[in-house]
Subunit: 66 residues, 2 copies
């Protein structure tokens, strides 16, 4: 799975820390997601998508190996 978190953040010009506070997670969690360290829970994905006004599929996409 890949995601466009970093791009979305850049579009809105917000830091990882700001997004983390809005969503209610640690900054490192945002960083880990951007770096694909692990797969987020659906609750997080929904909150993120909602914050950016997009569908989950617009931000998170499946890879062949998923």
């Amino acid at each position: 799975m890949k995601n466009t978190l970093k791009i979305e953040r850049a579009i809105k010009n917000i830091t990882q820390d700001e997004l983390a506070k809005i969503i209610g997670v640690s900054r490192q969690t945002i960083n880990a997601m951007e770096a694909n360290k692990y797969v987020p829970s659906t609750v997080l994905a929904l909150k993120i998508a909602k914050h950016f006004g997009k569908h989950v599929e617009d931000i998170f996409t499946l890879d062949a190996e998923d």
Copy 2:
């Protein structure tokens, strides 16, 4: 978070076991998700949404306490 998994399955008339095999998880995982025992990973949510031809948001929705 709540979901409409059971309804989607009923619409397509497939069992938990069949959906589990398609998605690549255990039947009990499907059951646990339908019963809101835990929150699925985004990879699972994406696969499920894709299988039913819907957006993640159409199947999984946030509650106030999320």
